[in-house]
């Protein structure tokens, strides 16, 4: 079943009276419960595309349909995980995770139940009253993830959620994120520039070209989970996407 339909999205802005094209014409659709990555070199407009999906920016043309509704402006039906998590530093883990539920006036007992469940899957028991500055990178990421889930969105949008960490940590966070996702099975769209990350996490990878931001490639990753990074097929997907990415970069 199609969850999200992106239809001829176009984004331009004018600089010194000259029209600059960020996204030429992007169309794709995503099935329910899928993990889809949007891969592209920096400056290809992938973050802009995600911002448009979230409603933080307006598209110049085209439309986005989530379920059976047209999307315009930000809303709790789309959860967002920011590159640097954007946890509210003045709120504890508990207050952060409760925030979206309170905004949607979910009754108190239901709120408490959801909170307990989410804290459980994120393995954050005992840290409920910590401030974000007291959390490790992994805990911050897990808090951001369950905060985005707490509002019961229909889809999760993630902007390079592993962007700010070193290589070792990155792999560990990817594994944590995958296990969280396997427990929740929500539709995810993740933006990344890291081929390994895309292959490790996604059911499907969409490659954006750097020039005029349009889709260069769109292919499934049909490997069993959890994935073995040393597997031959895994390496094969990586090699193919790396070549795509190099080509995407050369076009710019």
């Amino acid at each position: 079943m199609i969850k999200l339909k992106v239809d001829h999205i176009r984004k331009t802005f004018s600089r010194n009276g000259e029209e600059q094209i960020v996204l030429e014409d992007v169309s794709f659709s995503v099935d329910e419960g899928r993990f889809v990555s949007i891969l592209g070199p920096s400056g290809c407009g992938k973050t802009t595309l995600l911002s448009i999906l979230a409603g933080f920016q307006r598209a110049t043309g085209g439309s986005i349909t989530l379920g059976d509704r047209k999307v315009s402006g930000p809303g709790p039906d789309r959860g967002f995980v920011f590159q640097n998590y954007a946890l509210f530093p003045w709120m504890t883990v508990r207050e952060n995770v409760m925030f979206p539920m309170k905004r949607q006036r979910i009754p108190k007992d239901q709120r408490e139940r959801t909170f307990a469940r989410l804290i459980g899957i994120a393995q954050l028991e005992g840290r409920e009253n910590f401030y974000p500055k007291e959390l490790s990178g992994g805990m911050k990421q897990r808090t951001a993830f369950i905060r985005a889930l707490a509002g019961q969105p229909e889809i999760l949008l993630m902007d390079e959620p592993m962007g700010a960490v070193d290589f070792q940590m990155r792999q560990k966070l990817q594994e944590e994120l995958e296990s969280l996702w396997l427990k929740e099975r929500i539709t995810v769209i993740m933006v990344t520039h890291d081929v390994d990350e895309a292959v490790y996490l996604s059911d499907r990878v969409i490659v954006l070209s750097a020039r005029r931001g349009c889709i260069m490639d769109d292919s499934p990753i049909d490997l069993p989970r959890p994935r073995d990074r040393d597997d031959q097929h895994y390496e094969g997907h990586k090699a193919r996407l790396s070549a795509q990415l190099r080509m995407a970069f050369r076009e710019s």
């Binding site: 979230a54 930000p74 920011f82 509210f88």
Partner: protein, 269 residues
């Protein structure tokens, strides 16, 4: 006006080699040494000039300082002045913070207020005293006005900076979780700008304490500043110096109180 933070940078060379206890000892020792040097220099100078009217010795100033504690008139005046400072400070905060929040969140408010405030700020503070006497007569009115005026710009400018430095991600995050404008203001803008508002409050209290003494020299016949003028006209220089020391200590204590309240309110930082 520059922004101030409540943090004292750690001296790397000390904290790297010493434990917490030792570094505290080093700190107290260096503070004692600098104080002793200052008093020694003062004593040397006063002995050199040998004129109690011009520069009393630290010893006679200390005696006068102890004498202040037995003088009910001083305490009455000090309390009166403190009351004025707190009232003026409250005005600066209650008027300045909302203006700053408005200017930080709305471009139109910024266009409206910024040039006006920028000009008014350039009028030297003391130049307001004659006008404030015309407006408010003598006594509490002009002094409270002067304190509020001295502090309000620091509050406004710090608040504006605080609001403008809020990362757009926080707004986006709040919106995508279903927060409305009013909720974003209460739950995001206000707490996020609070450390800067408190920084402005600290500056405002400091300049208020300075402004009140000046205002009291001229525009009133009671208060701590008035006590100082009185000591001067009676040629009691050691009492004047003792009052200056007391003034410094009171100001320092108030500053520390605002810092402590601020740290308590922003434990998350």
């Amino acid at each position: 006006m520059e922004k101030i933070t409540n943090q004292i940078p750690k001296n790397i060379s000390i904290s790297a080699f010493l434990g917490e206890k030792e570094s505290l000892r080093v700190r107290l020792l260096s503070q004692a040494v600098s104080l002793a040097l200052f008093i020694l220099l003062w004593r040397r100078m006063s002995l050199y000039y040998n004129n109690q009217l011009l520069l009393p010795t630290p010893g006679s100033t200390f005696t006068a300082f102890i004498g202040l504690f037995g003088d009910p008139e001083i305490w009455e005046n000090l309390l009166l002045t403190l009351e004025r400072v707190l009232k003026g400070f409250a005005c600066a905060l209650l008027i300045g913070a909302p203006i700053g929040l408005l200017m930080g969140s709305s471009k139109i408010a910024m266009y409206m207020f910024d040039p006006l405030l920028g000009c008014i700020r350039q009028v030297p503070l003391m130049a307001w005293i004659p006008l404030s006497i015309i407006w408010f007569g003598l006594g509490n009115g002009p002094t409270i006005f002067m304190i509020a005026l001295a502090g309000i710009f620091a509050v406004v400018l710090n608040t504006v900076a605080g609001v403008r430095n809020i990362s757009p991600d926080y707004y986006h995050a709040a919106r995508s979780m279903g927060a409305g404008t009013w909720c974003i203001f209460l739950r995001v803008v206000l707490p996020c700008a609070l450390p800067d508002i408190l920084g402005g409050a600290r500056l405002a209290l400091g300049s208020g304490w300075m402004a009140v003494i000046c205002a009291e020299f001229i525009a009133t016949s009671a208060g701590f500043g008035f006590s100082m003028v009185e000591a001067q006209t009676r040629m009691e220089t050691e009492k004047l110096l003792a009052l200056m020391v007391l003034g410094a200590l009171v100001g320092y204590t108030m500053d520390k109180c605002v810092c402590a309240i601020g740290n308590r309110l922003t434990r998350w930082k």
